[in-house]
């Protein structure tokens, strides 16, 4: 299953809602303002780090670059382009957007 989060954890609790439903082997993709969560020094980074123990975490590079955070991604989180986003959708049998 692919979980998509698009809101900054500073604005909404959707990252927490998402992470509470991530099962081993699931993938999480952070897009739009959610990309901040996967950057070094962010208060939410520890949650991402913890999720990495059982799940895969991806972040949309285009949204990171737009926000000047591409150089600050925490270890273990994989940057993908839009084609990578498409691949994640095709690789996972179901998708949940945590809006």
């Amino acid at each position: 299953m692919l979980h998509i989060v698009n809101k900054s954890p500073g604005e909404r609790a959707t990252l927490d809602s998402c992470l509470a439903h991530v099962r081993p082997g699931h993938s999480v993709l952070l897009i739009e303002d959610a990309v901040y969560a996967a950057t070094k020094g962010h208060a939410a980074a520890a949650k991402i780090q913890a999720a990495l123990a059982t799940a895969k975490v991806f972040v949309l590079a285009a949204d990171l670059e737009a926000r000047a955070r591409a150089g600050a991604v925490i270890d273990g989180v994989v940057q993908v382009d839009y084609k990578g986003f498409v691949e994640l959708v095709t690789q996972n049998p179901r998708v949940q957007s945590w809006l």
Partner: protein, 114 residues
């Protein structure tokens, strides 16, 4: 499925770029369904500044070049003043059943919204 209007949120941009990448990767985007304020993607009355992207025109181009079916929910559209007279090229107004129908027919449904 696009649930937010253009410009206010990034949802329409993300959805469009996702659709374009899917098509470039050889996948078929059968339909984009516009719901909630997403119906505002379908108005031909928008005039963004020259140096900004034209969200509505991009959808129209996607429909024309790749045969993507752009469907606007009629109930949501009527609530927000989107009618045949101000509908941009490439869009059509139809019922919510079109969303359920494409969810049944397609391999994947991705929701973009707020």
């Amino acid at each position: 499925m696009v649930n937010e209007g253009p410009y206010q949120r990034q949802s329409s941009d993300s959805a469009y770029l996702f659709c374009r990448a899917a098509i470039e990767s050889g996948h078929q985007i059968e339909r984009v369904f516009f719901y909630h304020d997403g119906v505002n993607n379908a108005t031909k009355l928008t005039e963004p500044p020259q140096d900004d992207r034209n969200v509505v025109a991009r959808w129209t181009k996607l429909a024309e070049e790749h045969g993507v079916d752009l469907v606007v929910c009629v109930a949501a559209a009527l609530r927000r003043g989107i009618v045949e007279q101000n509908l941009a090229q490439g869009f059509r107004i139809s019922g919510l059943g079109q969303l359920v129908e494409s969810a049944i027919a397609s391999d994947r449904l991705v929701v973009f919204g707020d």
